[in-house]
């Protein structure tokens, strides 16, 4: 059981507990299940209201899957997602969970706050509060829909506004992202990459959500547009009181925009801390290797650190024990047997590594 021991669960706006998302692997003529891709494997994270939480890792680590599972685009295989539960209720839930008796009380609380088991109308209603901006604006916008319909659709589906009111809100949203009314009657392919991403942002924010997952939103656009978009994200966060989950493999971008950052590897969180502290002094061997691989735009500071050996293993059959142990040059016996828990080593800096305990 890897529960995060935190001083206060109070302020967490989104709290996941042992969230799992497995994808079945089928094989054979009758497509029997032969295994699971363990994309997200028992991740417990808390995201505070109003913060920008960065989630980094390389391809295949599960960060995108995590982001999509948290807002229920994907249905979790197991685990809980508590959204906007008042602090006293959260305390109660934690107490009941720890007491390991299955209780009626717990079930009732979960029914009310646990996103993972919502369905039907309840789920549809909560969707207006959580949205996602995708990586590639070319594929995330329907090429045969006009901008006004793309941005207006959430309002229609969630029955928030009709007719003139809807139009007004759409225009308002477009203005907020830097586009204008005359862009309403155009198709996505008539815009540049940066503008398309703005349309995608407008679509995500038009229902005035509280929580937005940003899935590599600047990876598909140019360097100069990147800065514009990051500035826009910051402005929108303060104007609309948003909470972000910023998923990215671009460590330098995450460094600039996030308040806290978590590093994922093969479906698990290996380290999590305040941004400055994490980047200055990563503790987990993988995080260290990761941060030292970032090319620094300053030729005077060329690194000659030996790069990380090997490649990321497949998430279908993760190595036993600590998942990083085959590539870790500091691995010891226990690393091959037991999975380390995520432990607070001070100042809300969490690491999952046997070498750093005690």
């Amino acid at each position: 059981m890897s529960l995060i021991r935190r001083e206060s669960l109070m302020s967490a706006f989104i709290q996941t507990k042992e969230l799992k998302k497995y994808f079945p692997v089928t094989g054979g003529v009758f497509r029997k299940k032969v295994g699971d891709v363990r994309a997200v494997d028992k991740v417990s994270l808390g995201i505070d209201k109003g913060e920008c939480f960065g989630l980094v890792g390389e391809s295949g680590c599960g960060k995108t899957t995590f982001g999509k599972t948290v807002i229920r685009i994907l249905k979790p295989t197991a685990g809980h997602i508590y959204c906007d539960a008042p602090s006293d209720k959260m305390e109660e839930i934690t107490k009941l969970e720890n007491s390991s008796q299955s209780s009626h009380e717990l079930k009732k609380l979960r029914k009310q706050y646990d996103l993972a088991i919502f369905g039907g109308r309840k789920l549809k209603h909560v969707r207006r509060r959580m949205q996602i901006v995708y990586q590639d604006p070319t594929t995330s916008l329907n090429p045969r829909m006009l901008v006004k319909d793309i941005v207006g659709e959430p309002l229609a589906v969630q029955k928030i506004a009709k007719g003139a009111e809807r139009r007004r809100r759409v225009i308002e949203m477009l203005n907020m992202v830097g586009l204008t009314e005359r862009h309403l009657y155009r198709y996505p392919h008539e815009f540049s990459g940066g503008q398309r991403q703005r349309i995608a942002i407008a679509r995500a924010l038009v229902t005035r959500p509280d929580f937005v997952v940003l899935d590599e939103p600047t990876s598909s656009v140019d360097v100069s547009v990147r800065a514009q978009l990051l500035k826009l994200f910051q402005k929108l966060q303060s104007d609309l009181d948003l909470t972000y989950l910023f998923v990215s493999h671009d460590l330098s971008v995450v460094e600039c925009i996030s308040d806290r950052v978590a590093v994922m590897y093969l479906g698990k969180v290996v380290e999590m801390a305040q941004t400055a502290e994490l980047y200055r002094e990563p503790l987990h061997p993988y995080a260290q290797a990761l941060f030292s691989s970032i090319p620094i735009p300053d030729p005077a500071r060329r690194r000659r650190r030996a790069p990380l050996k090997g490649e990321v293993p497949s998430p279908v059959n993760p190595p036993p024990g600590c998942r990083f142990n085959p590539r870790c040059d500091k691995a010891v016996e226990i690393c091959r047997r037991e999975e380390p828990d995520l432990v607070d080593v001070g100042n809300r800096h969490f690491v999952a590594c046997h070498l750093l305990r005690g």
């Binding site: 090429p143 045969r144 659709e153």
Partner: protein, 297 residues
């Protein structure tokens, strides 16, 4: 509607560039005109306009003359009248069969592709069954069971044709289903129906429409083959395939001059050929225009 007009202009310019496309469109336009003007070009003298008139009864076909511009077939059926009204029949066959097959295929293919799982498997087995038979043989068997007649031919063609559309649409839907914008629509809370109608279908239907236009020609050809085998329209009906069927005895007939009665089969044959060609070229043109990968924007 600025963007729609721009699209149209772009489409027209692409079409202009390819002479074959222009030819295809011209042919189809010609046939449409022919079909619409049939009552004017070949006024029906009595009764059912689709029954080709004949004044006399002798079996030998007569060559083209001032009275019968394309000559007469066996039984003095006027070939000119036959091919003109046959255009209407051809359109009726082609469009009806393709429309119904498309409709059935759309529904089954969409459900199959979108929901997957057991429904998909079962549906694919159904289509497999039909694909197992050679199309023409199956048509013949169905018509033989139901009895000859144009309506039964149409039914048989639909029966043989719908699985093709099912597979096609299912394939396209499988592709579109996993696009990000579909997922984004679901993330907003769109119902399945809305996702299908507003997002998936508009993006998957174009290749299918292209194939459908090509198919119109193919269907007419198959119907003609069935008529030739005697399973289609009754004798004297204005149907190109029927006319060729009826001219069986006169193809390469006369001892010294095999081409003596050429007008009996060449003329209807020519109409079939150019009709199918027109649709093929039109389908190609549509594909060139609508295929996003070939565009240079």
């Amino acid at each position: 509607m600025g963007p729609a007009v721009k699209e149209l202009k772009f489409i027209l310019s692409r079409v202009e560039q390819s002479p074959l496309s222009v030819a295809g469109i011209a042919i189809i336009v010609f046939y449409i005109a022919l079909a619409l003007l049939a009552p004017v070009l070949a006024p029906p003298p009595y009764g059912d306009p689709y029954m080709i008139p004949h004044e006399r009864w002798f079996p030998t076909p007569q060559p083209p003359s001032s009275k019968h511009p394309f000559g007469t077939a066996e039984g003095q059926l006027d070939i000119y009248y036959g091919v003109v009204w046959g255009t209407r029949t051809a359109f009726r066959i082609g469009i009806w069969v393709v429309a119904v097959s498309l409709a059935i295929g759309l529904i089954t293919g969409t459900i199959s592709g979108y929901y997957g799982g057991v429904i998909d498997e079962v549906m694919m087995r159904f289509t497999d069954i039909i694909f197992a038979f050679p199309a023409l043989i199956l048509c013949m068997a169905v018509v033989a069971a139901l009895g000859p007649g144009l309506d039964n031919v149409l039914l048989a063609l639909v029966l043989v044709g719908w699985p093709f559309y099912t597979r096609l649409i299912r394939g396209e839907i499988l592709r579109v289903k996993q696009e990000d914008y579909v997922e984004a629509a679901k993330a907003v809370g769109c119902s399945d129906l809305r996702v299908l109608v507003r997002h998936i279908l508009p993006n998957s239907i174009y290749p299918v429409l292209i194939v459908a236009t090509l198919d119109i020609g193919a269907v007419v050809l198959t119907a003609a083959a069935l008529s030739f085998l005697g399973l289609g329209a009754p004798t004297g009906y204005a149907d190109w395939g029927q006319m060729i069927n009826y001219s069986q005895n006169w193809i390469w007939s006369a001892a010294g001059n095999p081409w003596q009665y050429w007008y009996v089969f060449i003329i209807p044959g020519l109409f079939i050929f150019t009709f199918v060609l027109g649709w093929n070229l039109l389908g190609d043109a549509l594909r060139d225009v609508l295929d996003p990968t070939l565009r240079r924007r």
